[in-house]
């Protein structure tokens, strides 16, 4: 325990906690939309493309978070376009893209001899979050939160029935695009926290856990954020106490919270 109290004096731990909480806060409501709209696979595909963004950032000498954000946005737009004109099912299309993107990312990283720790990209490197990272994450989280706040009703209407929303005057295509861009931004900042492979878990698990506790969409979004924050705190604690990798510990904590939520009788 003395070890823990010593650790609590260190800056990196507080940076890590702040970064984790920022991501958990915005991934709660976004995760709800991912669950309601059944976009888990979509999130996975976007996340897996992040590695390619890292490579591009290296080649073009751009800050990695910005590079990943930009490349995820580009892919999100491409996906929306592809989904509309494919004979293959969306599921199949995403399955192809998701893994091809991951493979492409890993291959380009090694091809260009980029000096990165692949494992930390894949599984997150929360304890290495620096001040500059934190500022970028805060900006991205603020953008997502603002968009969510102003588009909330439109996003809900669009999720319930796209054509009904369109007839009632919701700009459906713009709303869809905004949701995609928010997801892309989230992925760019969540990469540091839980890594490319586990981002979808952070998106889906807190939202799914919140379902049983909620009676309105707003409640579900807030509970999802809260559960995500708990997972970050517990995961980080576990990671320090038992020296386990932070990202997977957070996801595991979220999984345990999900199981705990299932014990509650259904509402």
């Amino acid at each position: 325990m003395t070890q823990l109290s010593e650790l609590l004096q260190t800056q990196f731990l507080w940076f890590a906690l702040a970064a984790g909480l920022l991501v958990a806060l915005v991934s709660g409501p976004l995760g709800c939309f991912a669950v309601w709209r059944r976009m888990a696979y979509f999130g996975d595909t976007l996340a897996h493309s992040a590695l390619l963004g890292v490579t591009l950032g290296f080649i073009l000498q751009i800050q990695p978070t910005i590079a990943v954000g930009a490349s995820c946005c580009a892919l999100a737009i491409l996906l929306v376009y592809l989904q509309r004109r494919q004979k293959l099912s969306v599921d199949t299309l995403l399955g192809i893209l998701s893994h091809s993107m991951l493979a492409l990312g890993i291959v380009t990283v090694s091809l260009f001899g980029i000096n990165v720790d692949l494992l930390s990209l894949l599984l997150g490197d929360l304890l290495a979050v620096g001040g500059q990272d934190l500022v970028l994450m805060a900006i991205a989280a603020a953008v997502i939160a603002t968009l969510l706040y102003f588009l909330w009703e439109k996003l809900l209407a669009f999720t319930l029935h796209e054509e009904l929303a369109a007839v009632e005057g919701v700009p459906v295509e713009k709303t869809r695009l905004a949701l995609m861009l928010m997801l892309a931004l989230l992925i760019a900042i969540a990469m540091k926290v839980v890594g490319i492979l586990l981002i979808t878990a952070l998106l889906i698990i807190p939202a799914a856990s919140a379902r049983r506790l909620s009676r309105t969409p707003e409640q579900m979004a807030i509970f999802a954020s809260a559960i995500g924050c708990c997972a970050v705190i517990f995961g980080l604690l576990a990671s320090i106490l038992w020296d386990t990798p932070a990202g997977p510990s957070i996801v595991l904590a979220a999984g345990v919270l999900f199981l705990a939520a299932q014990l509650r009788p259904n509402r």
């Binding site: 709209r37 054509e163 007839v167 009632e168 969409p217």
Partner: protein, 231 residues
């Protein structure tokens, strides 16, 4: 898909589009709603026309917690939930989750939302989808009552031939083009209609010279002037 469609909708008029599967009923609806654009020709909507749309069905993912009341106020917080629901005889559903509604209840709630917008044109895509046989006539009575209350035009697409015939002012039978149109009694005797639907369908010959309220009581006498139904 569709050609030679010429259709004008008047306020207070119920127009029903019937036709076999693949006839282009939904395409026509989407064009009128502005959800898709015609390749040739034009859809003119009165500027500022208030549209109420009732989709064929609404499939909500059960993971989304949303009550009927919240749904009715979604994007329109000024709507009085109780008034909207009592209009379609579904008062007790306010706190029910959307995902828990039966087919018939869902149709009522969708109709309540469409009507709550006080539309000048109500567009209904197969409003009795998923409603059991006993409830179907009731849905059409509701639609007629809404037309009377709101004074709106109603365009509906339907499969329930004989039920529709009873509750409509004008019928448009299409199969990629307009096969025949006119008053229900005229259409049901039209050779083009009989060719499409055969003589299995017993033409409904209800004399529509009065109106019913919800309990089936006769309201004020009313007869349709055939001359006002012109293109």
């Amino acid at each position: 898909m569709l050609q030679d469609i010429n259709l004008a909708l008047q306020p207070g008029e119920i127009v029903t589009v019937i036709g076999p599967n693949g006839a282009g009923k939904t395409t026509l609806l989407r064009l009128l709603l502005g959800l898709s654009k015609p390749t040739t020709g034009k859809v003119w909507r009165r500027p500022g026309l208030g549209l109420g749309y009732m989709p064929q069905r609404l499939q909500i993912d059960p993971s989304m917690p949303m009550s009927v009341a919240r749904f009715l106020q979604l994007g329109q917080p000024q709507v009085d939930v109780r008034e909207a629901l009592s209009r379609v005889g579904a008062d007790r559903l306010a706190d029910t989750g959307l995902a828990e509604l039966s087919g018939g209840e869902m149709q009522r709630v969708l109709l309540a939302r469409a009507a709550s917008r006080k539309p000048q044109l109500l567009v209904l895509d197969e409003p009795t989808q998923g409603v059991d046989l006993g409830g179907q006539g009731e849905v059409y009575r509701l639609i007629a009552a809404l037309r009377d209350e709101l004074g709106c035009g109603v365009l509906l697409v339907s499969h329930d031939l004989h039920l529709v015939m009873a509750a409509t002012d004008k019928v448009l039978c299409i199969n990629q083009h307009i096969c025949c149109e006119g008053l229900p009694e005229q259409v049901s005797r039209d050779p083009a209609y009989l060719e499409l639907f055969g003589d299995k369908v017993v033409p409904y010959t209800h004399q529509h010279n009065h109106e019913h309220d919800f309990g089936g009581d006769i309201l004020h006498p009313h007869s349709h002037d055939q001359d006002e139904h012109k293109q």
